[in-house]
Each structure stands twice: as structure tokens, then as C-alpha cells.
């Protein structure tokens, strides 16, 4: 087994053990989806109109929950120091940590997203697109979120700072993904929105770890 695959399996194991791991994110997601009808009223027509967008925004917020601990614990307990003392570039280490985060949190959330949207009144025919958007968008959330997690290393109330840094970076996938879902619901072409979101996710995968590694080096020194 290569170093990176060993690190990935460790990250996923740690994420599952991290205070309930993905169950907390999925539980939060379900909680938000449950609160919406209480806030805006239970009329099916009204809920169906906002269901895809709400499911999408709730997904972005649920993705924020576990970002704080993506690097913070390794930073505090010295594991990040030791991870740097290997031939593996820190950029790759950061990429693996984000991918592990996506596997442990983003993928379960992607499974929950169609369920929540349909529960809110979205058409079941939208389920595959919601799932695909949540998978691709989850990658963008994990890799862009990693930048915020790295930049807030060592800061007091780092979780809050991470959210403040990361939310603007979540805007493009929220717009593109939400746009694709709205277009599909209206019977309009949705492919462009999905393609733009996928492109953003690829850019996040390519650039996020570079920024994360620079921020980690700065925090460690």
C-alpha cells in the first residue's frame, strides 16, 4: 500500500471517529431540511418550488461543519509536523486529506441530498441530478473548504474564521449547482450549470491543495 493510500484510509477512519463524523453532518442536514417547512409553511407547491435550492444551500452549510477539524487537530497534536517529514509533498498530503474529507462527509451528504430534496417536495426524477450535483459540489466544498481550514490554523475560534473565509468560496458552486437544479425543474437545459460547477470543482482540486500547503507551512513556522 502506498503512503498516500495509507494516509487516505487513516483520514477516513479518523473522520468517522471524529465525534460521530459524517453522522453529525448528515444529521445537521436532515435537521435543516426539517426546519424549512416549519419556517416557510407546509404548502407542497411552495416547498416544491424552493426544495432543490434549499437542499443545495443546506448541503453547503453541512459541509462546513467538519472543516474545522480537517487540519486543526493534526496541527495541535503534532501530527502535521510529522506528516511533513516524508518524501511526499505537502500539497499531496493536503489533497489526500481533502479527498478523505469528501469520502467521509461529502459522499454521505450526497446520498442524503436527494432524500431531503424529495422530502421537501422536489420531483423524484430530479434525484440523480441532485446526487450528481452533490457529489461534484461536495468535492468543491471539500477542497475550497480546505483552504479556509488551513488559513485559520492556530487561530482562536478557528471554526468561525473558517466559515467566514470559506463561504465566499462556496458561492460559485452554490450558484452553478442551484442553477442547474432550477433549470432542470423548469424543463430548461441544465448541462451548462452542471458543467460550470464541475469545472469549479476541478479547479478547486488543482489549486486548493497548493494554497493549503502554503498556509500550513506558514502556520507551522
Amino acid at each position: 500500500m502506498s503512503r498516500l493510500s495509507t494516509l487516505l484510509s487513516r483520514e477516513v477512519a479518523l473522520a468517522w471517529g471524529r465525534g460521530g463524523g459524517p453522522l453529525v453532518a448528515v444529521g445537521f442536514y436532515g435537521g435543516v431540511a426539517t426546519l424549512v417547512p416549519l419556517a416557510i409553511g407546509p404548502e407542497p407547491e411552495r416547498l416544491a418550488a424552493v426544495a432543490p435550492g434549499l437542499a443545495w444551500v443546506a448541503l453547503a452549510l453541512a459541509s462546513l461543519l467538519s472543516l474545522e477539524r480537517l487540519l486543526e487537530r493534526d496541527y495541535e497534536d503534532g501530527a502535521l509536523d510529522l506528516l511533513t517529514l516524508s518524501p511526499t509533498p505537502l500539497e499531496l498530503i493536503c489533497a489526500v486529506k481533502c479527498f478523505g474529507q469528501w469520502l467521509a462527509t461529502g459522499a454521505p451528504l450526497a446520498l442524503a441530498a436527494p432524500v431531503a430534496a424529495i422530502a421537501l417536495g422536489a420531483s423524484p426524477t430530479m434525484a440523480p441530478l441532485i446526487f450528481a450535483c452533490a457529489l461534484a459540489g461536495g468535492l468543491a466544498f471539500a477542497f475550497m473548504g480546505g483552504i479556509g481550514a488551513a488559513l485559520s490554523l492556530g487561530a482562536r475560534r478557528g471554526g468561525l474564521l473558517t466559515a467566514v473565509i470559506v463561504l465566499p468560496l462556496f458561492v460559485p458552486p452554490v450558484i452553478f449547482g442551484g442553477g442547474a437544479l432550477d433549470a432542470y425543474a423548469a424543463g430548461l437545459p441544465w448541462e451548462a450549470g452542471f458543467a460550470l460547477m464541475a469545472a469549479y470543482a476541478l479547479a478547486a482540486i488543482a489549486l486548493g491543495p497548493i494554497a493549503m500547503a502554503a498556509a500550513c507551512r506558514n502556520a507551522l513556522s
Binding site: 500500500m1 503512503r3 495509507t6 494516509l7 487513516r10 477512519a13 479518523l14 471517529g17 493534526d74 495541535e76 497534536d77 503534532g78 501530527a79 502535521l80 509536523d81 510529522l82 506528516l83 511533513t84 517529514l85 516524508s86 518524501p87 511526499t88 507551522l220 513556522s221
Partner: protein, 200 residues
Amino acid sequence: MITALELRDVAVRRGGRLLFEGLRATLSPGEARALTGANGSGKTSLLRAVAGLVRLDAGEISFGGAEPSEARGAGLHLVGHQDGLKPARTAAEELAFWSHWTGGTPESAAAAAEALELTPLLELEVRRLSAGQRRRLALSRVLASPRTLWLLDEPLSPLDARWRQRFGEMMAAHVARGGMILAAVHDPLPLPARTLEIAA
């Protein structure tokens, strides 16, 4: 491969405060040096600087001609105050991961656990270990993979007298094989070692 460690006019500043400057020292194969100084004098910072984790304010650190990032990535171990061990993982999982990460094998990890009498503890979660057992687990990582330079930050402090002596013997054996050790200590190292003092 690290064939020597040389510090040339090294200065480190932390939080705007100059910890030390003009520090010169060498470490050759088969040599151990005890890094001494008062609390806050910069011993930990110097070890972290050698590991590339702290920026130098001035000076240079070289590894006998090896490219610094390669030397640090494959040639040195760091055991600091924070041991990087995860409380919810078992000692076996942690030792296996870090051994693999630093180039060891399952066999070398098992041998390291045996040498430090950790084998009966391997199935315990790290949170269940005493401070001394946890330190032995952290130290087992340096035995589990062959790296030339050991950077140790107060390695013996949580250990009892027996384990201080035993790990002293292991350090001596590493030095005898041509290894190098730079260890921040308050008490004398249990092996022949020159002292590198950081003045306050």
C-alpha cells in the same frame, strides 16, 4: 541521505523575540549532542528549524551536501512535545501508520514494539496508555524506520529510570551504527555526548 549536520550562524526569532543568533555547530556520523539551555531559550525552536518547521532569521542549515527538503523528508526523525498520536486509534494502528509513513516495514515496526516492550499494549487505544507508555510508543517510531538523524525534544522526561537507561542504550546503539542524535535535554544524556548550549 544525511551525512552530517552543520549549523552556520543560525538565528531564530519567535513572536518578534530573537531567541538566539550566530549559532554554529556540527554533528558528524556516530555523534550525539545534548542541546541544553534554560526554559524558553529556543531548544525546541532549533530542533524544529533543523526539521524545516521554523524559518531561520539568519544563517544556514545543511545536511552534508544533501538537498535539504530531501534530507528532511527521508533522513530525519523528530520526536517533539506533541507526539501526533491519535487517542482514539490503537497503538498498533498508530505505529503501523507512522512506520510506513517514514519508510519502515511491518517487520521493523514489530521489532520496534518488541524492543520497547509495547507488544502487549498494541491493541489498546492510545488514550488508555500512561504518559510513559505513550512516550515509548512515540519513540518506537524512530526505531521502526531507518533514518540517520534523530531530533529528540526531551525524549526521556516521562520515562522511568529503567526506560531511561534502556532508551539510552538504544540511542547509543544508533550512534554506534553511524547515526546522529541532537537531543534537547535538561538532564545529561545517558550516553557520551558533547553539549551544545543555547545561551539565554
